[in-house]
């Protein structure tokens, strides 16, 4: 009797020990790893913000000052004054919004043609389009610049916005993947009822593809917001600069403290992160459904 009891409870302890080990391996250790790397990923953001509210002395103090004595909100005011920050923000936002509008108007159209209408030569054209994804930007960069130069469009926003109104292979492919997953029964019955392809596109396919459309709009806007090479090539007049170019000028032209620079960088980054949180759900859905960025 007594023996069996000990054996049984011994067994129980063994199970419990095993369960404890499992819990440790499957839950505790991953969480420790994730939390540590998560903190490392967040630390630069924290340092960006902390530096942006320090005085010059605190920034260059050794040992490191982890939190300023008095929060220097003035850095933000000065950062905005040192460069025409509001104007740059407006320029950047305008380019971003118009680019996104162009992309959303045109890319789904092409994606619909490439996915739901079967016509002769479609596959060849599709492969041509896919090949342009691999084509380095640098190959077309010089002739396109020459072209815009001949049209007197250098130092204007046209070269940065206009190409978006012709769609981009990247986004067309993303949307095509999405459109291909829409059941054909939905569109076939409309076709039998005599609806035109455009009507099917406009009234059935587009409304069903909202997450993918949002994703394209956001990616286009994000790209335009952070783009450096495009504005660097095309915008000479400082009044027309975007935030990327304006921020870079902080380093060379002005003897500006790291505090101001970090304040400006914060202001450059916050809107995009706010925007992301706003559309995050649809965005993740759009990315994971198509497996593409």
């Amino acid at each position: 009797m007594a023996q069996t009891i000990t054996r049984r409870s011994g067994l129980k302890i063994g199970v419990r020990k095993k369960r404890g080990l499992r819990l440790l391996r499957k839950t505790v250790l991953p969480h420790i790893g994730l939390t540590l790397t998560g903190l490392l990923f967040l630390a630069p953001f924290a340092w960006l913000f902390i530096t942006s509210i320090k005085t010059e002395q605190e920034i260059f103090a050794i040992p490191t000052v982890w939190w300023p004595d008095r929060v220097q909100w003035m850095n933000y005011v000065e950062a905005v004054r040192t460069i025409p920050f509001l104007r740059y923000t407006f320029n950047t936002a305008m380019i971003g919004v118009l680019s996104a509008v162009g992309q959303v108007l045109v890319s789904p159209l092409a994606a619909y043609g490439f996915s739901r209408i079967s016509f002769r030569g479609r596959n060849v054209l599709f492969y041509v389009m896919m090949a342009t994804i691999i084509l380095p930007f640098q190959v077309t960069m010089v002739p396109v610049y020459v072209m815009f130069n001949k049209m007197n469009m250098v130092d204007s926003y046209w070269p940065l916005i206009l190409p978006n109104f012709f769609g981009a292979a990247y986004y067309i492919f993303l949307l095509r993947q999405f459109f291909m997953n829409i059941p054909y029964e939905l569109t076939e019955s409309a076709k039998i009822d005599g609806a035109s392809e455009f009507r099917i596109y406009w009234q059935i396919v587009l409304p069903l593809s909202r997450p993918a459309i949002y994703t394209v709009a956001l990616l286009t806007f994000l790209h335009a917001w952070g783009d450096f090479l495009g504005p660097l090539i095309y915008l000479n007049d400082p009044a027309k600069w975007t935030l990327s170019i304006g921020l870079r000028s902080f380093i060379g032209e002005y003897d500006v403290s790291w505090g101001l620079l970090m304040a400006a960088s914060t202001l450059f980054t916050v809107p995009i992160i706010a925007l992301y949180f706003f559309v995050q759900k649809q965005f993740i859905q759009g990315i994971t459904l198509t497996g593409f960025k």
């Binding site: 043609g113 016509f119 450096f228 870079r248 450059f268």
Partner: protein
Amino acid sequence: MTRTAAATAGFRRRRNKALWTGLLFISPWLAGFLLFQLYPILMSFYYSLSEYNLFSDPEWVGLQNYKDLFGDSKFYLSLYNTVYITVFGLLPHLAFALGMALLLNMSVRGQAVYRTIYFLPTLVPAVASSLLWMWLLNAQYGLVNELLGAIGLVEPNWLVDPAWTKPALVLMGFWGTGTQTVMYLAALQDVPKVFYEAAEIDGAGRWSRFRHITLPAISPMTLFLLVIGLINSFQYFTQGLIFAEASQSVGGPENSLLFYAIYLYQTAFSFLNMGYASSMAWILCVIVFGLTLLIFRSSARWVYYGGEK
């Protein structure tokens, strides 16, 4: 007879209608392709065989630009720097992203929160993140060296010592691997659970399950991330230029940050040597197409698609 003829005519009409409707839908893209890709590609090839400074007409010089390139030490240096950042940047970053995705995939609580945290840095504009990291990597006052010093490691002079400028960029790159992590995570979540269960019954260990189930199952995603990463890496520009400007130059200390795209940009828009820049672009194109082809060719050996045996 007449009936089949009528049917054929009807079929042909429908087929033609589909052709025109299809072309109509893709016409904006097609116009853009002709205007912004095909025509520039042809022109770029022509420029690459010319001397062209933007102000006078291109002057035909044949293969001279290409010949000059092969004797240009900066061309080789920029190519070396680009290969360096591709090998030491891309592969460790992908491995790291996979590691993070594996951790995230252990069905931990708060997965969405962690995922968001790793993704956030990819939203930061390249100029802003480069400026931030220039400050973090500051040899005297930077947080990174503070950390390294605290655990007794070397404290490199990141942005000044030519041996450390590229590792600095690689280090910064880890911060921006969120997209790859999210995409690897999506791929991992698609791996059928039954595979693991079957393997576990067969007594396969943790490593062998990873090696024989996980890696093959996510290999299409690896192929995709590798190709896209390669294309991006060979056009590496913004971060390199911003880091270089800390030393008041285009190429950084001893041109250690003169990446291929930066040298090309400088050739075109600072020296207004459009012909030379175009031949550089074509060599870049050949390299990228060649490497992409190589990866796709080799992929038959290491990429497994769900539909296959």
